[in-house]
Amino acid sequence: MEHNNGLPKKNPLSLQLDLKKFSAAQFEKATDEEKRQQDVMSESTTFFKDGMRKLSKNPLAMGSIVVLLLILVGILILPSIVPYQYDEILSVNGKRDKSAKNLAPFTYSEMEQKYIEEGGSRFPHIFGTDEQCRDYFVRVIYGTRISLAIGFFASLIVLIIGLIYGSISGYIGGRTDLIMMRIVDIIYSLPDMLVIILLSVVLNETLKFPSGSFLSKLGTNMISLFVVFGMLYWVGLARLIRGQILSIKENEYVLAARTIGAKPTRIIRKHILPNCLSVIIISTALQIPSAIFTESFLSFVGIGVKAPMPSLGSLANAARSGLQSYPYKLIFPALMICLIVLSFNLLGDGLRDAFDPKLKR
C-alpha cells in the first residue's frame, strides 16, 4: 500500500523515518494538553533585557544609579536656584562684603546680618564661604560638574580610540595585529602618571589658547589631561576589545555574513561590536572614576584645572591650608568625590555581574 501523506519523495540515502510506510490512521492527533506544551510560557528575553533584569535586582547597583541621577539633576538645576556664581566675590547692595570670609555653613556675615535686619533677604550659604568670600556651595556644585565632565569626556575619548584600534587589530589579525599589539605593549608599560605630569608641564608652557574661549577657561592642564588620556589610557580597552573580537570572529554567523559578501566594516559594526557591548559598557563605567581620581591627583600636584574654575580635587586640595580651622571645606568636596567614585565602582561591579557572559553559571 502506498500512502503519500502529502510528503515529497524521500531520498533513498536519507536516514529519516520513511513516513510513507504508515497510513494516516496510524497517526494520532495531539491532545490539548500536548499542544499546550508547545505554548510559549514566558517571553523570550534578549541578552540586554536579561542583564537589565539582573541589574534591577542588585540593590547596590540600583542605589548607585539613584545617587548618580540625584547628583546629575543637582548639578544641572541647583546653579540656577542659588543666586551666586562660582567666581563671584560676595557683595551686599553692590558693596564688596569683606566680612564674608570663611563663614561656617548656614551663617551670615556681619554685613549680610545687617542687611537682613533691615528687611532684605539673602540666600543662605549652605556650605559657608571660602577665603576669597565666594559661596562654597556653588563652588562645590561647579566642581562636581567639572569633575564629572572630565570623567565622562576622558572615558569617551578612551572608548572611541580603544574601540577603533582594538577592532581593527583584532579583525585583521596576522602581522598587522602583531605590530599593532607591540605598540600597545610599549604604551602599556609607560608609567601613565609620570607621563601625564610631564606632558602637563610641557603643554602648559607651549599651548596657548585665545583668552576668553572655553578652552582657555578650562586651562591647558585639562586639555593636556585629555590629550594624555587619548594617548595612553586607550590601550587597556583596545586589548580587551581585540581579545573579544578574536574569539567572536570565529563564530559561524560571522562566517555566514562573510559568505554573503558583507563588508568588514559592516561585519564589525553589525555582528561583532554588539556582542562585545557588555565588556565595553563595564570598562567605561569603571573608567570614569579612575579619570576623576587622576584629575584630583593632578590638582593636588598643582597641575589641575585653572583657577578660578573649581574641580573637586582642586577644592579639596585648597582646603588643606586652613584645615585646622575649617575642616568642613575639605569634607564637602572629599565626600562628593567618594560618593561619585563609590557609586561608579558599585555600578560597574553590578554591570559586570549582570552582563559579563563569563560569569553566567
Binding site: L190, P191, A316, L330
Partner: protein, 303 residues
Amino acid sequence: MAKYILKRVLLSVVTVLIICAITFFAMHAVPGGPFNREKALSEATIEALNARYGLDKPVFEQFLQYLKGLLHFDFGVSLKNGRAIKDIISESFPISARLGVSAMAVALVCGTVFGSTAALMRNRLPDRLIVFFSTLFTAVPSFVLATLLLLVFCIKLGWMPVWSPQTPTYILPVLSLSAYPMAYITRLSKTSMLDALGQDYIRTARAKGVSRFKMIFKHALRNSLIPVITYTGPQVAYIITGSMVIETIFTVGGLGSKFVSAIGNRDYTLIMATTIFLATLMVIATLLCDLLYKVVDPRIQYD
C-alpha cells in the same frame, strides 16, 4: 623560557629608551633656556655658556650626550639650586624606598589576610565588614585620607608626632599609602580564594581527610596568591605616584615630595631626571613581577 625572558627584557629596554626620549624632547619643547633670567645676559655670554654645556649642538646629538650621561648616573644639575641631581636622588630616595616598601608589605600581607578571611567566612559578619571597608577605601583619594589622618591623630589627638628628620614616624604615611592597594588586594584575593575553594582539588583534599588548616594553607591559599602577584607590578607604580602625595602631606623629605616641588618650581632638569629614574624603577618592577608570575604558575605557557 630563555626566549621569553629575553623578549621581556628587550621590551623593557625599549620602553626605558622611549621614556628617556619623551622626557628629553618634551622638556626641550618648553620655551626658554636654562640661562634665561630677569637680568638679560649678553649674547656673547649666552653663546659661551651654550658652547660650554654643549647646547649649541643639534638636538639629537644633545640627546645622545644626555643618554651617555645617564649611563654614568649623571643626571645633570638642578636648575633652581645648582645641586647635582644625583646627590638629591641618592639622599632622598632611601626615605621614599623605606616608605614604599613598608607600604607595599603592609598592603600585601594585610590584603591577603583580610581577603582570605572574607572568603573563608563568606556571608558572615567579618566578611560583610571587610567587604564594606575595602569598597569604601577604593573610593577615597589618598590625599584626603592622609590629610584626615594627619588632622585627627597628629593635631587633634596628638597621639603621633608630626614627621621630622629627627623623629621619623612612618606609621601614618605607610597607613595612608597602603590603604588603596590594601583594599584592592583584599577584593582580589577574596575572589581568587573563593575560586580556589571551589576547585576539584580542594574537594579531593577534603575527601581524603586533610585537616582544615592544611587544606587552607597548603592547597587554597597558595593557589589564590597567583592573581595577587600579577597585581604587584601595577602596585609599585601606584605606590611611587602615591608617595608623591603622601610625602608632601606628611612633609617627608623623600623623592616624591622633591618631585612635586620641582613641578611647582618648574625645575625642568630635576623633573626630567626624576621622571626617568622613577619610570625605570617601575619598568624594572613590572618586568620582575611578570617573570615571577611565570615561575610561580607553571600552567602559563611562554609564547
